[in-house]
């Protein structure tokens, strides 16, 4: 095993190869047979929805958690975002949250529960608490674990059986995924109206919901080096929406500065030493091979918005609702999907999307609920009011984001304009708590999935950036935010 590794180390490797190689616990000698590799997991993040059956499995077999100090839990999917001091309206939600509390207590796992100042969406608090570190492996029973790849960590979502496996062994059997490269080229007009969300929606639009094909996608290009961590997190977050297992961005000084002084991050000299190692190693070698390279030019990008029922059904805000033939380019399956989506979304081809009224606006989710997202949205809202036909809400990604936002007065800006200002959680991204759309309601949402019924049975979701959602709230219809900034 060690000899094959040392040979491989002389070959040019991608960032993904390096993190992978660093975490190999056991590798079958015959690689040709495509046997899975036993991979060590540095961080296991846990939430209330996908973990109860895993803990129950441990109990049945009388097993323990191997490394409780590498395991961190929070409640995010079910938590109410208002009136938290009151008993939960939903009994089954309360039971699931109680189960997590009991499980963390029984197995010795740190939990940030509903009343903790560190509570929040698991993919927001991981980076915030310094749990997400470059070069590490991170898993969570949640597909948006790809978010953490923004730090140059190999991070991916797993099912509940695998959650149980990691709890018991701190390892996972994984077939090495393919490694794609997406080059984000062109001069990105990084103004206040074009955002990282527009880039990732455009990527998904370009390669489709299965274009990522279970791969690890490394995003590269000049645009990224100017991006903040919040923007990089948005890009990696939606990697799963093009079918990728993980997104990855090489860490740089922006990454290292973010990590400094975070609660669980190494401190002082220890951190400096690590940064030296990270700087040295955590990048793809010049001649390293990717299985596939995709180039995306973002020079002429307009604000992006979804019209249909999957995150690849995207148009420019200046476009009209597409005709099924135009969308499907002769592909019968895509045509049927377009017809079904138009029917579900109650849309007519040829109508400019800016003619369409919205009922609800949701600014939040693990994609777009960080402080920068809220600041940018507030700049659109400031001095304006929410249209009378719209009910709008802001759900900060964590209680820490909420506190920071309140410190600079964002809560007042939003409330003055007529937004609801909530506590943190997944909220209306998937509507497991009381924040849901009624059937037929149309929502401008900063979340990541516009699937049928995602935000509530019969609800109609349009995905966009925080500034675009803020613009829709003010105008009462989908609006090109460039006209407002």
């Amino acid at each position: 095993m060690s000899s094959t590794n040392s040979i491989r180390h002389n070959l040019p490797r991608t960032l993904f190869d390096k993190i992978w190689d660093d975490h190999v616990v056991y590798q079958q000698s015959d690689r040709a047979k495509k046997q899975p590799t036993l991979l060590y997991i540095d961080r296991h993040l846990v939430h209330e929805v996908t973990s109860p059956q895993a803990f129950e499995g441990l109990r049945i077999k009388n097993r323990s958690v191997r490394r409780p100090n590498l395991t961190f839990a929070t409640m995010d999917h079910n938590v109410p975002t208002s009136n938290r001091s009151l008993p939960l309206v939903d009994n089954t939600s309360a039971m699931q949250m109680q189960a997590l509390k009991q499980n963390c207590n029984d197995f010795g796992i740190t939990l940030y529960d509903m009343d903790s100042p560190n509570q929040g969406i698991v993919h927001v608090i991981g980076p915030e608490l310094g749990l997400t570190l470059p070069g590490s492996t991170i898993v969570c029973g949640d597909s948006h674990t790809s978010t953490h790849g923004a730090f140059g960590a190999l991070a991916f979502g797993i099912g509940t059986s695998e959650v149980e496996h990691v709890l018991a062994t701190q390892c996972l059997w994984v077939n090495k995924p393919e490694n794609f490269e997406i080059r984000i080229d062109g001069i990105f007009k990084n103004s206040h109206s074009l955002t990282a969300k527009d880039i990732i929606l455009y990527i998904i639009r370009s390669i489709g919901t299965s274009g990522g094909n279970g791969a690890v996608i490394e995003y590269r290009g000049e645009v990224l080096s100017r991006f903040s961590m919040a923007e990089r997190l948005t890009i990696c977050n939606m990697s799963i929406e093009c079918g990728a297992r993980a997104g990855l961005i090489a860490p740089d000084s922006t990454t290292f500065e973010y990590i400094r002084d975070r609660l669980f991050a190494p401190k002082g000299k220890d951190l400096d030493n690590l940064i030296n190692i990270w700087q040295d190693r955590l990048r793809s070698d010049n001649s390293a091979k990717f299985e596939r390279t995709i180039s995306i030019d973002v020079s002429n990008l307009a604000p992006q918005i979804t019209w249909g029922t999957n995150p690849s059904m995207v148009i420019d805000i200046t476009d009209s609702i597409p005709y099924p033939d135009e969308y499907s380019h002769g592909n019968d399956g895509l045509k049927k999907a377009a017809l079904r989506a138009l029917n579900y979304m109650d849309l007519t081809p040829g109508v400019p999307i800016t003619n369409i009224d919205v009922d609800r606006v949701f600014i939040g989710s693990c994609t777009n609920s960080r402080l920068q997202d809220l600041i940018e949205a507030s700049n659109v809202v400031k001095g304006r009011t929410v249209a009378p036909n719209v009910r709008a809400m802001v759900v900060p990604g964590s209680q820490l984001v909420k506190t920071q936002a309140e410190r600079i007065g964002l809560d007042e800006v939003f409330k003055d304009a007529g937004f609801e200002w909530r506590d943190s959680g997944c909220s209306m991204c998937l509507g497991m708590n009381p924040d849901i759309l009624s059937s037929g309601e149309r929502c401008a949402s900063t979340s990541n999935r516009n699937f049928e019924g995602r935000q509530g049975t019969g609800g109609r979701t349009h995905l966009m950036s925080p500034v675009m959602a803020a613009a829709a709230a003010v105008k009462g219809k989908f609006t090109d935010v460039r006209e407002m900034l």
């Binding site: 047979k33 036993l38 540095d42 919901t209 279970g214 079918g243 049975t457």
Partner: protein, 198 residues
């Protein structure tokens, strides 16, 4: 887990591409803490109207398809959320195998942990099966990795470990415990990036 060797059944066809796990089991049914009893929630919003009455036109409500155990679907089946509840719902409903041109990868992995066999075959065969879905009978032999219908016998790919997991119904965690010396060795010597360890 029921060991999987071979099955024979007619097909349950659902002719929609990119079916995501939110459709297979909507979020309101993810609040339970047990691992079984999800069959009644399978494809809930496609299967029942807003008053909870079965929608007649949906294939899962067709009594003549009720005893069928093989699902036939289109590309990228199981995309979106990682919820293993999607596989539990299919398994509890009685689905033993799913035939598709492609699967989303977290869903694909989740299948093997629950005794469900996902089979990938090419578009032409998928097209043929959709055209004959009412009557065609399928024989799946996992040992031989073959799927047989009418006069076709098609070989399908599956990794050795996934095949073994299905055929023997093994406890994967118990198997990993056999690698304890490798895991503790890793923890002692190779923890450069295992930052909770240093």
């Amino acid at each position: 887990m029921t060991p999987f060797k071979s099955i024979s059944s007619k097909l349950i066809p659902i002719d929609v591409i990119n079916i995501d796990t939110d459709q297979i089991i909507p979020k309101q049914f993810l609040k339970l803490v047990q691992k079984t009893g999800y069959d009644k929630f399978l494809f809930y919003d496609w299967r029942f109207d807003k008053d909870g009455n079965p929608k007649r036109e949906f294939v899962l409500n067709n009594p003549s398809y009720r005893d069928r155990t093989i699902l036939l679907v289109r590309e990228n089946f199981g995309s979106g959320s990682s919820r293993e509840h999607a596989v539990w719902a299919l398994r509890d409903f009685g689905i033993r195998a799913i035939v598709a041109p492609s699967f989303a990868d977290i869903f694909y992995n989740n299948c093997f942990k629950n005794g469900v066999l996902p089979i990938i075959i090419n578009h032409d065969h998928i097209e043929y099966l959709f055209n004959h879905a009412e009557t065609v009978k399928i024989n799946i032999d996992l040992t031989a990795q073959s799927i047989e219908f009418d006069s076709n016998i098609i070989h399908f790919e599956i990794s050795e470990s996934n095949k073994k997991m299905l055929m023997e119904g093994i406890d994967e965690i118990g198997m990993t415990f056999n690698f304890e010396s490798y895991i503790s060795d890793y923890e002692k010597t190779k923890s450069t990036y295992s930052l909770g360890v240093v």
